[in-house]
């Protein structure tokens, strides 16, 4: 305990560029999370629609796809992609990536990282979206049919807007998980907060490259962890607030939870 709170072990925080260096890494993580979330929402919607299709030969492959990717560890998917994406693709990416991108985005393995995050999260998001759509009362679809709307229009105009609204809080809490998961891309060598923090612990003590003040690993990673805790706490507040607002608006309590990627949904009138 003494080691943890000893002020000498916290001096690195204000020394040199240490904190700013870690923060720039953290921003990269946020950027990756947002990018992966946008892609996951797009692919997730496609997967969810395939998954609830009435045609079994569309539904079955979608189900198999979603369940496989949802049940594999994310780090497993990322490492596999990093090993199996051909060298030529990586070179092609390296040749075409704009120069103003940050170092992390220019990494030849960036493609593997984003593809992995998207494959995994789109499967989770698809399941959340499906839960939101299925939780909608049957009467909505039947009323639309009775009014003469063709199924595609009923889906687009009636079911999706209501069903997807219900999954907004769950999507926000999925963003928390995704945010945490972005640290995994450091394992395939992408320069984000974990690596930046590592550099701080290695160089800070050196009078030549760093500030000359030792940065203990424990303390540095505690600070990194706290950055995630703060951002994620704000996100979870937002998620709760959205849930309450939705409940007040519709009078229906929908609990679509994406608890650590495991989705469950249940709707009831209050």
């Amino acid at each position: 305990m003494g080691y943890l709170i000893d002020p000498a072990n916290w001096e690195w925080l204000t020394a040199g560029n240490n904190l700013r260096f870690i923060l720039t890494g953290f921003l990269i993580n946020i950027q990756i999370a947002v990018l992966a979330m946008i892609l996951s929402l797009i692919f997730g919607l496609v997967l969810a629609l395939l998954r609830i299709s009435k045609k079994p030969w569309v539904r079955a492959p979608a189900l198999a796809w979603i369940d496989s990717f949802r049940n594999l560890p994310l780090i497993f998917i990322i490492l596999y992609l990093a090993l199996s994406i051909p060298q030529s693709w990586r070179d092609a990416y390296g040749d075409h990536v704009p120069a103003w991108f940050s170092e992390a985005f220019k990494s030849p393995f960036f493609l593997a990282a984003v593809t992995g995050l998207t494959l995994y999260n789109s499967a989770v998001i698809a399941e959340i979206m499906r839960a939101g759509i299925v939780s909608l009362e049957k009467g909505q679809g039947e009323a639309a049919a009775a009014l003469g709307l063709p199924p595609s229009k009923a889906m687009r105009l009636i079911i999706l807007p209501q069903g997807l609204r219900r999954m907004v809080p769950a999507t926000v809490s999925q963003l928390i998980t995704l945010n945490k998961d972005t640290t995994l891309v450091s394992i395939i060598g992408i320069q984000e907060v974990m690596r930046q923090a590592r550099i701080v612990t290695n160089t800070s003590g050196s009078p030549f490259t760093g500030s000359g003040v030792d940065a203990p690993l424990l303390h540095v990673f505690l600070v990194v962890g706290l950055m995630f805790v703060i951002v994620n706490l704000l996100l979870s507040r937002l998620s709760t607030r959205l849930e309450i607002r939705e409940q007040q608006r519709t009078g229906i309590r929908v609990k679509v939870t994406g608890l650590e990627d495991q989705v469950s949904a249940d709707a009831q009138a209050v």
Binding site: Y3, Y80, S84, L217, F221, F228, Q262
Partner: protein, 219 residues
């Protein structure tokens, strides 16, 4: 055919990796359940200050990346002079991380038992601990089984992170990387490793569904 050849040639290593993953999951699960129950207890008991301790625990461990936790628990503690082993650090971190989710689930299970039942049992003369043990817990346990199952599945997947960062824990993923480094048959090796994980997660899913049918009270 090459697919089967890879499995046959490397079967002992795949099996060892599978067993290590099972061990990681098993030990972490015990820690998660034990610590999670204690934290949930802190959050439902009446004392303000202890409630706060429980809340801080949950919010900290639920929102911190597991990878950061692993760095702290292994390399961080070792640099601090505490000689912790890789297995202990890995399962400890995963267990404490998952405990936060367990605590939240158990707490909401406890709250799902109506306030009226607690009041009724207090008014007929049960003490507070007795009420908790005889009235609240038996019902709460049944409501939390499905979400606890989901947490376990998430934990199986998270255990792969231990193998990816701590060199000594040779779980499925680590073995797959080692075999791949020797044979370069990436697709085949990772296919079988994926099967290994799917066996665990799908078994857990089926087990949870079974327990759910047997135990759950519909309210």
């Amino acid at each position: 055919m090459q697919l089967w050849q890879v499995l046959i040639d490397n079967f002992p290593r795949f099996r060892d990796g599978f067993l290590v993953t099972c061990q990681l999951v098993g030990v972490s699960f015990v820690i998660a359940l034990g610590v999670g129950l204690v934290i949930a207890g802190l959050r439902v008991q009446p004392l303000r200050s202890l409630k706060w301790v429980g809340a801080v625990y949950v919010e900290f461990f639920r929102n911190i990346p597991l990878l950061v936790l692993l760095f702290i628990s292994f390399a961080g503690l070792r640099r601090a002079g505490i000689n912790i082993g890789a297995f202990a650090a890995g399962t400890g971190a995963l267990g404490l991380y998952t405990a936060a989710y367990v605590a939240e689930t158990v707490r909401s299970g406890v709250f799902a038992v109506g306030r009226g039942q607690v009041e009724a049992s207090l008014s007929i003369g049960f003490t507070y601990p007795q009420t908790l043990r005889r009235v609240v817990l038996p019902q709460a346990v049944r409501t939390v089984i499905p979400p606890l199952g989901n947490i376990t599945i998430a934990m199986i997947k998270n255990s792969a992170i231990i193998g990816a960062v701590l060199a000594i824990a040779q779980d499925i993923l680590k073995e797959a990387r080692l075999i791949n480094a020797r044979t370069f048959q990436t697709n085949e090796v990772f296919f079988w490793a994926a099967i290994g994980y799917l066996i665990l997660t799908v078994t857990a899913t089926v087990a949870v569904r079974y327990l759910e049918r047997r135990l759950v009270i519909r309210r």
